[in-house]
Symmetry: C2
Subunit: 409 residues, 2 copies
């Protein structure tokens, strides 16, 4: 059995959008596969394949059965992994493509959002021993009954990280269309800097607060099994961002990044009777309806009544208002109002644990820039403020500069 | 275990070329699945999918590896069977799609032209017991190592027939874009009649002599296991042609059909020394080069030399001429000439065995119509004449009428 170090490389849909890009990926993979390393590659479906397949199904039926959708959608990755294997063979190197089923990626039965349970490494290690580069179809697996499943959004990242764990890979490289993780969205702040290294926890926090490079699920798995992730560009040789366990090597800075998120709306219920169990009623009803609530603020009560505000995803807003109004009536609360024009601006950094005064500095910075704070919520390594949506860019720039993120080397 | 009679229905690429046709096929399948029957459906890839996938591979590499081509091409049938299952569910009926691997269609390792070795019926019977219509991806299987294979041209027909055998189906229905098997090509003879029933042997003979509805391989399997095949149109409810074992029920007529084939060319070697083993030399060399020879005629020899003529596929002509010239030199024969402007016209019918004078009637008919006969070859149930290509239509019409095929009811 081969004991060479193993690298897992994952290429997203835009990296394999057409034949020329597939050839470029093949060249990149071939360069990585030296006599001293083994390489397993995970690919997503070609550019628009997923959308095209979905559109065909929806032309037939509004809510097609999940099992059949998985059967259909999984062909996208099967096509791209076969083509990449061909492109590598065209460069004169050995390669073999494998579906999720062929690798032995066993999942739960939850079609369209299955979870990986086990991965068999035998077939891949056998291919490594035969000197082959292994191309694995991302996003898919099979149940015990051999039914094809898919892993939901960001599924190919998950395949890559889980594979890296199974193969005891040195690193899991996630190739994408950006150069790495930035201190903030470069479309808002042109001085945003690429972060060299970030901890799993910081990345998780940034992902949940609006950074869109990787899905939280894959980072959680990487964190649990301590798989270093290298997020980098398919289109350049530049080093990207390492996502790693917290170590002494990581520069101990208070704030690693600034995120913003405009996908939430705020609901306020006025004059809620200030009695135990009343707030619970509202949030239980929302949870039962499958609506997840983010920040909750209950104003300090000077009377026997209090105002409760909370944020929900804009997608859930009308449903949430209806529920809030129903409950408000039942508990004899006042009016229900809502506000779509809000944004969440957050700062994230493990260093907050040891640095003091970060929250104060954030509030002062916003105040100095005349950004009004609506609501505040904090976690161990982040602070978020809900503000007026129109102030988003101003707030992001001000915070980015105040915490000296634009001076990172 | 369900003991209901089982029907296998197979739909080709043109029958599932677009969403509307898939819906029509779904309706047809749903009509066939009564409370008293179980239905397994085999589908080919959607219209142009196969060509599109192939084109992508060839853009990357001139001769892509067979294993990866099978991985790629097999997605076509996986897509169509998932879509058909969705379309059946849209009609409110239970359906499940299965890949070749999921059914358990085990094949040899000869990628792109694998042979089916065994089919497991467990998964399908389980689905039948659950009241489901089963949709199987045609054209594909897996090796013992779980590598995806494809079965080559006409592979979906083969899947259908083999499945019918495994399931002990009552009938295997092959849905296509024609109404059945005709007494001759209706594009040549507008009076061609649909044949109600034909024997496996007659159909095999007609397929090898130019009729293009079904590949010989599938008919051979059907014959071996005595699976009745019903060739019929996807676009009409009309009964098609039954391909069955020879029985007393089949009308005992001498000639069942007339075929023609313009894909061959003739090669003649003059003045071949009339010694034992000389002809063998020529045909051994051709066989070694993988060229298959059809009709061979050696003229009666009055001297110590003889002329040998034979036909080969036009695709192999230049290669065959080169070999013939090399051998002619070695055996001190005369010139090698060739003729592309030939056609094979054949009559086929099991009744020939018991009817006399059929050959004479064929030759007389051609003579009366001034069609010159170049070469003749016969089998137990067919007679073929090689004629000038420009006389093909005239010969076909004359024979069709002489053997009263236009008066079949």
């Amino acid at each position: 059995m081969s004991t060479k170090p193993i690298i897992v490389m994952k290429f997203g849909g835009s990296s394999v959008a057409n034949i020329d890009r597939i050839k470029a990926v093949a060249q990149r993979v071939v360069n990585a596969k030296t006599s001293k390393t083994n390489v397993a590659v995970v690919v997503s479906a070609l550019g628009d394949t997923t959308d095209e397949l979905e559109a065909m199904a929806f032309q037939i039926m509004k809510e097609p059965p999940d099992r059949e959708m998985d059967m259909l959608m999984s062909t996208g990755e099967q096509i791209s992994c076969a083509l990449l294997a061909i492109a590598i063979r065209a460069l004169g190197r050995e390669a073999i493509s494998l579906t999720g089923a062929q690798v032995g990626i066993k999942t739960t039965k939850s079609h369209t959002k299955a979870r990986i349970e086990t991965i068999d490494n035998k077939r891949i290690l056998k291919a490594f021993d035969a000197g082959q580069i292994v191309i694995v179809a991302g996003f898919q697996g099979v149940t015990e009954e051999n039914d094809i499943t898919t892993l939901g959004r960001g599924g190919s990242d998950l395949t890559a990280v889980a594979l890296a764990k199974t193969l005891k890979a040195q690193v899991c490289e996630i190739y994408t269309d950006v150069n790495g993780i930035y201190t903030t969205d470069p479309r808002i702040e042109t001085n945003a800097k690429k972060i060299k290294a970030i901890t799993f926890d910081e990345m998780l926090e940034m992902a949940s607060l609006g950074a869109q490079v990787m899905q939280a699920r894959s980072i959680e798995v990487a964190k649990r099994f301590n798989i270093p992730i290298h997020v980098r560009s398919s289109f350049s040789k530049e080093e990207g961002t390492m996502i790693i366990k917290e170590t002494d090597k990581l520069e101990n800075i208070a704030v690693r990044g600034v995120t913003c998120n405009k996908s939430e709306a705020k609901i306020t219920i006025d004059a809620v009777p200030d009695k135990p169990g009343v707030a619970a009623k509202i949030f239980t009803e929302l949870a039962t309806a499958g609506i997840s609530v983010d920040t909750i603020v209950q104003n300090v009560s000077h009377t026997k009544h209090t105002d409760i505000s909370f944020t929900v995803s804009k997608n859930d807003l009308s449903k949430a208002i209806a529920i809030a109004e129903k409950v408000a009536k039942k508990i004899q609360a006042g009016a229900v109002s809502s506000d779509k024009n809000i944004a969440r601006v957050s700062i994230v950094g493990s260093g907050m644990r040891s640095h003091h005064g970060i929250a104060a500095q954030m509030f002062e910075t916003l105040a100095k820039n005349k950004v009004n704070i609506n609501m505040i919520s904090t976690s161990e390594i982040s602070i978020s403020c809900i503000i007026d949506q129109k102030s988003t860019d101003k707030a992001v720039k001000a915070l980015h500069s105040a915490f000296k993120l634009d001076t990172l080397s």
